[in-house]
């Protein structure tokens, strides 16, 4: 079973970068949501292993989505990585308070994102590349 990643961002270009970063790596599969409410629905339906979560979203913001995912026992197992342009230390703290597992500021290096995903994959028991 590949590791399922949910990308939540209102900017389609971010999805395209993540898509290109993962390439054809068979360990990962990628799905997308463009706003906060859609993200919560997708999380419940698709049960992703990892959520790459933007903060500044239409509808519910990233912190609220994170809290909702972590509060629901069906989805609380997902690893949430805040992927955001809000690079202030206070924003990082807000992510931690909301229950996020990790944090990656924009603009990000595809290599760094892939390292994080490798780590998570290893933790989840998938074979490393």
């Amino acid at each position: 079973m590949p590791i399922k990643i949910l990308s939540v961002d209102d900017e389609p270009i971010v999805y395209r970068i993540i898509e290109a970063t993962l390439g054809i790596d068979p360990r990962f599969s990628l799905i997308a949501a463009a706003d906060g409410d859609e993200a919560i629905v997708q999380a419940k339906q698709e049960k992703p292993d990892v959520v790459l979560l933007d903060v500044d979203l239409p509808g519910k913001n990233g912190f609220e989505v994170c809290k909702a995912i972590k509060a629901d026992p069906e989805t609380s197992g997902a690893v949430v990585v805040m992927l955001t342009a809000m690079a202030q230390p206070s924003d990082k703290q807000k992510g931690i308070d909301a229950g996020a597992d990790d944090y990656l500021p924009k603009p990000f290096s595809p290599a760094v994102l892939l390292d994080k995903l490798d780590e998570i994959a290893a933790r989840l028991g998938a074979p490393s590349s």
Binding site: E11, R16, I17, M86, F108
Partner: protein, 553 residues
Amino acid sequence: MAQPNNDEHGRTGGSTGPVELTVDHFQATFDLAPDATFGIDRTGAIRFANKQVAGVFGYESEDLIGRRIEDLMPERFRSRHHEHMSRFYDRPYDRPMGGVSINLVALHKDGTEFAAEISLTSVDESMGFLVIVVVRDVTERKLLEQYLADQVGRLDAMVRVGEAMAKPGTFEMNVREALNVLIELSSADWAVVRIFDEAKNRWAAAIQVPGDSNPYDIGPREDSVLRRAWNLRRTVINNSLDQNSRLAKHFGLHAAIAIPLMVGDRPLGVMTIASREADHFTAELGGYLRVVARTMGPMIESAVLRERIEIERAMTSRADNFISTASHELRTPLTALVGFSELLITRTVDEESKLQFSKMMNEESRRLARIVDDMLDVSRIQSGRLPMVREALDLGETVDSVIANLKALVSEHQIVVEKPIVPHLVWGDRDRLQQVLWNLVENANKYSGAGTPIRVTVAADESRQVVTVSVTDEGQGIPEEKLESVFEPFTRLERDVKDRVRGTGLGLHIVRSILDAHEGKIDVESVLGEGSTFVFEVPFMADEEQLYQKEVA
């Protein structure tokens, strides 16, 4: 008339005292008294008068014997006096001097009236008279009292004006309160303060009482008392205003005083106080108001500075906010550039992906450039560093030229222009006002379905002295919760996400900034699913600007 000895309430019977007093005794005694003193009988006839009546009333005491006491009071009081007198005889009591607060008036032999203080004492009727009347001329004391009361009132008003100006409220609120005090003090009906904004080289909004200040007021007329006071740098009183003057025509005022507000030799503006009554402003009142105005000058200046600091502070915090939001906006295209370029450098990428990545990088670079351009526009407009080339503009013509250029771009819509004759010109920057229209019509195009009309109307609002232009679409509309923020930087509607070319989120913000720079404004109304109307307004060209225009031409 009843006889003295039969009065049931009066004092009856002869004197039983050991010393027999006569009228001559009284005469001798009262001649020494400092006040005019009479004895009058039950009929009101004067039976006795001391020497002081000459000084107070102008009569020799002999002349008054036998005359009626009413002769010494102004005619209008005589009939009432009779009533008072019989009431006094019914129930005689002593009325001491000074205890009476009403203003009594007596009549001098030469026909003039004077303020009097009068005391009454009833005496034994056996003397041949019933009442001793003592009269003192208090004209001077009354004048002094009035003078002191006026001075105290004025000092009090001065303190109240000072307090009003020093309050923590807005400049406008403070000035209003001060003007109210001055209107009350000078028994006037209307007042205005106008400050000349040196930075903008134009008159700032009038603060007038009563009434709202009109931010689009085009400034005081060249022939107004206010302008004369400003030009002459001295107080001008006009106690019979021209029927065609603005004050007479709009407010029914007939007298006005205009006093320059100065700090040292530096003029800040003018305060005008006006009355519905002609000849209202005496030189004395004018002198006093000028003293108050002198104390107001520095207070107004510090209040203006205080407000300017507040505005600067708000602008700084808005600028900080803008920078933090802008840096956030810049990160998305940067993410695309960093991400795709890194992938191109570090990975073996097939030709098709290479082309795709490059295209996306190209698009995002362009977007980045557009955002930076727009941000620069915003910051230059807001800081006043964007030079505005002002000229007399017919906004109707501006609309025509913008629509002509946009028609090709907005081919999916029919643009309907409604443009009655608008005789008023505005004083504006042609390119920038075109940019305003362009942005609004482009937005209408972007947010409404193909085939629906876009309406552009131009009109003049005479009462508010503005030219208004509205752009209406029949598009998706704007949700109510977004209406407030559409003019804030980086506010976008949902639909944008699916657009191939995204806006920068700064278009409407630039529109508002341009209109702010023209002392204009913009509003939006929208019904979700039915469409939106953006209305902006620019003030009519002011007199001074017309003058400037003539000079340049």
